[in-house]
């Protein structure tokens, strides 16, 4: 596959259809600037500021854009808040839709058949494979991203974090907790 991609890049460059330096900038963007730290900051702010949390519920696209996170695969955002009695989990059964602007590029498992096939029919089984066991009475809501809305899960704020700074809180917010296949880390 390496040779096949190189051939494609060569042909398109020879024909003047591709600027190889543009590829470098695209890669650098997703390696260094756009990743799950963006989403973690959104979540930490929502945990800390009730007005921001309300805004995030009503208009996630605008609330998230106010932190500077916009763009490709995050044009239309929806935030879904975990509650004590309901856990949210996001999947794209039809392809690999994922909120790039806040989480970066999706992990391989998110794009692969085991997750895409089972998240909707056996979410508890999937969660167990991530080491997460929810109480039997906790309701599970699975959001299949079949249109252009991109979902960000806001996990429950861990106990014992009262008065923490947003930077410190953001350290507890894992990528998986914002997909719904994990929970936020406990306060150390």
């Amino acid at each position: 596959m390496a040779a096949r991609v190189r051939a494609l890049e060569t042909i398109l460059t020879q024909k003047g259809l591709l600027d190889p330096a543009a590829i470098d900038v695209i890669v650098e963007t997703y390696e260094t600037r756009v990743g799950p730290r963006n989403g973690a900051r959104v979540v930490a702010k929502a945990w800390s500021e009730p007005e921001f949390a309300d805004w995030l519920k009503r208009d996630a696209t605008a609330a998230i854009a106010s932190l500077g996170y916009t763009g490709r695969q995050g044009e239309h955002m929806q935030a879904v808040f975990n509650m004590q009695d309901q856990h949210n989990m996001v999947v794209c059964t039809l392809c690999s839709c994922y909120p790039w602007s806040v989480l970066g590029l999706p992990p391989v498992w998110y794009k692969s058949p085991p997750y895409r096939s089972r998240a909707v029919i056996d979410p508890r089984g999937v969660l167990a494979e991530f080491g997460v066991t929810l109480p039997v009475e906790t309701k599970i809501r699975v959001w299949d991203s079949t249109a252009e809305l991109r979902y960000l899960v806001v996990p429950l704020r861990p106990a014992g974090t009262e008065g923490w700074s947003q930077e410190k809180l953001a350290d507890l917010v894992t990528r998986d907790s914002m997909i719904g296949t994990g929970l936020a880390k406990e306060a150390a």
Partner: protein, 219 residues
């Protein structure tokens, strides 16, 4: 289409295998695959729906035995051939052998940050009010188009409730095939697990999809 991509509820793929401390890319070629796919898309000759439909049109054996970046590259080759930018002969030798269709634009490095920050919003004004409102009971259509659709098989001919009226979005079922954007209202529709999976479904489970208006009828 009822293709390999429509995975919800299929069985036999084994456990999810999350990788600890997964790197953003697993090989150098994956970086180029991402970049070349985005840059070629920026030429403006196909839309995201045509891209998706090209990926899901891979033979199921090919689709299931390919990683996601491999799927992207295989579909990109098809798109580039379809739109007159490369030939099969060129792909075989790995060299340009002649002409090309004229691109609408070529993405330059300095334009990338703005292009990524802008994305490709697909909200559009819709003529006429939304047919449904939150709380309405609907039934999804039972159809099996040979072209592109975003109504998964598991959610066809099922009764659900409108959870939210979203916005007008480009309609993928026509847009993927060059038949226009035809924007429609999109709704988040929620189903009980039992409605979808029947006996034995997790009683605490609800599933939602985002559905275009023409996927729905009153129930």
């Amino acid at each position: 289409m009822n293709g390999a991509q429509d995975l919800g509820g299929q069985m036999g793929f084994g456990p999810v295998a999350p990788e600890k401390d997964e790197p953003i890319f697993h090989a150098e070629w994956e970086k180029r695959a991402l970049g070349v796919t985005l840059a070629a898309g920026a030429m403006g000759h196909w839309n995201i729906d045509e891209s998706r439909h090209t990926r899901e049109s891979l033979h199921p054996v090919d689709y299931y035995s390919s990683s996601y970046y491999e799927i992207w590259i295989k579909a990109l080759e098809t798109l580039l051939k379809r739109h007159g930018f490369v030939t099969q002969g060129e792909l075989l030798v790995g060299d340009s052998l002649g002409g090309t269709a004229k691109p609408k634009r070529v993405l330059k490095a300095e334009e990338v940050p703005a292009m990524l920050a802008r994305g490709g919003p697909c909200d559009r004004p819709v003529r006429g009010p939304a047919r449904f409102k939150a709380g309405d009971r609907i039934r999804t259509m039972n159809f099996h188009p040979t072209g592109h659709t975003r109504l998964p098989r598991y959610a066809r001919d099922k009764v659900g409730v409108i959870d939210a009226v979203r916005e007008g979005f480009v309609f993928p079922d026509t847009n993927a095939h060059g038949r226009g954007e035809n924007p429609q209202w999109v709704y988040t529709v929620v189903f009980g697990g039992r409605e979808i999976w029947g006996e034995g479904a997790d009683p605490t489970l609800t599933i939602s999809i985002d559905a275009w208006e023409s996927y729905l009828e009153p129930a």
